[in-house]
Symmetry: C3
Subunit: 262 residues, 3 copies
């Protein structure tokens, strides 16, 4: 029996509406002793890619057997499946739309089931809010120790999404902006270990040159020129010390970057 004392939530529901609070009501109704942690509800609406990146950057910091519920679900109510997966470290509950893709790059799933046993759903299932009617009660039952096999049949073909753009050729590393955080820092697809062994001089974004690799934000000029550094998610990042690289560079998601090295 797996006892998931902690249930995390990653959604694009925002917190303006009562959606998240209602889900917690359902969870506590069935699993009164669960600890529910909001990872974020600020995923860009409908962006499965952002949800996948954020979940991947977060899940390993939680205790073993934490159940991560990731809902970015533009196809809610259609025929997309809902899946429940177990890796060595964690449990995951999500629509089958690729949001678990990057997790499975690191950890092979030991078991994936398609969640289709209505015994664990709310009695009446809407077609627009499966977070409340399916995800929340299923999460609560998992937290209460119900075996994964009871939720539906084991499957092995799930939806995956392509990794963000990343290529090394002609003495350059090519990547893209994959996430922009609240400070306007631009997170790229280029992992730390690709720049760890080389002498990177910095990177290009559009017509701009961003020097690097620096160690921390405070090494840049305050409110001044952007710098490149390795961030806490293990990616190359472009930042302005106490300013916004997003605004300074007028940058957007998926903008291409190129690393120059010696």
């Amino acid at each position: 029996v797996i006892l998931a004392a902690i249930i995390t939530l990653v959604t694009d529901f925002g917190i303006h509406d009562p959606f998240v609070g209602i889900m917690k009501g359902v969870i506590y109704s069935l699993a009164p002793h669960a600890t529910i942690v909001d990872i974020t509800h600020g995923i860009e609406s409908y962006s499965v890619l952002s949800g996948a990146l954020i979940l991947d950057a977060s899940y390993r910091y939680f205790p073993p057997h934490t159940l991560h519920v990731a809902i970015v679900d533009p196809e809610v109510g259609s025929h997309r499946r809902i899946i429940l997966a177990k890796t060595e470290h964690s449990l995951f509950l999500a629509p089958d739309n690729g949001i678990l893709s990057f997790i499975f790059h690191h950890e092979k799933p030991q078991l994936i089931v398609e969640v289709n046993n209505p015994q664990f759903f709310l009695p009446s299932v809407s077609s627009t809010f499966h977070g409340r009617d399916i995800f929340a009660p299923v999460a609560a039952h998992v937290a209460q120790g119900k075996a994964l096999e009871e939720f539906g049949p084991s499957i092995d073909n799930i939806t995956l999404i392509p990794a963000p753009f990343l290529r090394s050729e002609g003495g350059k590393i090519h990547g893209e902006i994959i996430y922009i955080d609240r400070f306007g820092n631009l997170i790229t697809s280029i992992p730390a270990d690709m720049v760890g062994g080389i002498k990177a001089r910095g990177l290009h974004l559009k017509d701009q040159w961003i020097p690097g690799i620096f160690l921390c934000y405070a090494e840049g000029e305050k409110g001044g020129h952007p710098i490149a550094l390795v961030n806490s998610f293990g990616k190359l990042e472009i930042a302005v010390n106490q300013g916004s690289a997003e605004k300074t560079l007028n940058a957007a998601l998926h903008d291409r970057v190129e690393v120059d090295y010696e």
Copy 2:
């Protein structure tokens, strides 16, 4: 003795400021084992109507005897009363301004008291933040099992607000937009059961025709024309698949809608 292990919060305080955190500090000081759940703090500032709608859409998903604290309170510090109510399912603490109106459409209150016993308030009560000085400590004492009668005298005349606009005549159902969620979905005052038994062809909003009734968001054209469907709150809703009906239709709260049926 009623033991409310769960205290929920519905407010228009936002989360930019420390108001909600401070309330939690007061609650935990008096009821260390309470579980506090944020339903939302994003109610439109001073909108008692929005608070009433959201509370009504949320409370029934929480365990029995949950205490719901609803604070949208433009009259804070004036002579408006504070009330504590018990229905068969739940407990409610709120200013007496109508925010509990829609709850009482569904569940007759078994007891309503006016909260006026300062023994359960903080020692010093400000005139601008009763959330901290009255609502939080009273909620904590209720959660600790204090009998409702101790907080003040029983009353039976409370403030109610009118239900949103809704009328059926001339072969049409007339309603209004009562809530707009973070995705730009337009929730109307028309309940599912009014369109359940008829063959609705769709609805008018301003000069626009919105076909329906569809089953889920994914049945609409992606980013395309709005569709009507029954939403998770049991209301008729206008939505754009992966887009914003609010922006597409340039719609606002209280815009009128008309359902055509055969």
Copy 3:
């Protein structure tokens, strides 16, 4: 042994990103029974002054021995120190940049240590996210009862920031706007006890006259002219009843105000 059952968080991390959720994962991994309370993550980016004000307005409403973790940390990864402090009422963990200044006006610290024992950090410490790699695990160890002396050496010279502008001369009290809340209320640096003993007629902000001192928001004209009152933080505040004083007066942080009295 001090057992801090409650850990609060005051940061400028926002809630759009997973930073706060990740910190909670680290805390629960080491202190599974901690209660974590978000005071706010909406501090203006990099504003140590705002963080200091909000922490000071909040901490006393929490139970004794609560550990308050305050992270507004523009110098993260540079040589700024991290400090852990104990006062009679509470515990504080923060960068040594002045964010605890106003606390120490009220309560003399009994012990301050510089946190430099890597035994209590995550095994790998990034230079951009000490919230996750240092603050969270240290907070968890404090909550588990570890003696403060184990985290590093006792120090007595810490960074302080100047108090906001406040002066009494020529029959007037001069102050400044120190915080603007979500409702657009303008909080000034002028404490209630400076206007408690005088007959204040109101105050000037730019060329505007704001009458006062009123008792509650509802005494102002709805959406009309701003009024002055004493707010829940014990400061003089300028507010519009059900409106925004910030917008009405086109006011900004650090705008000067003058109180006239008889």
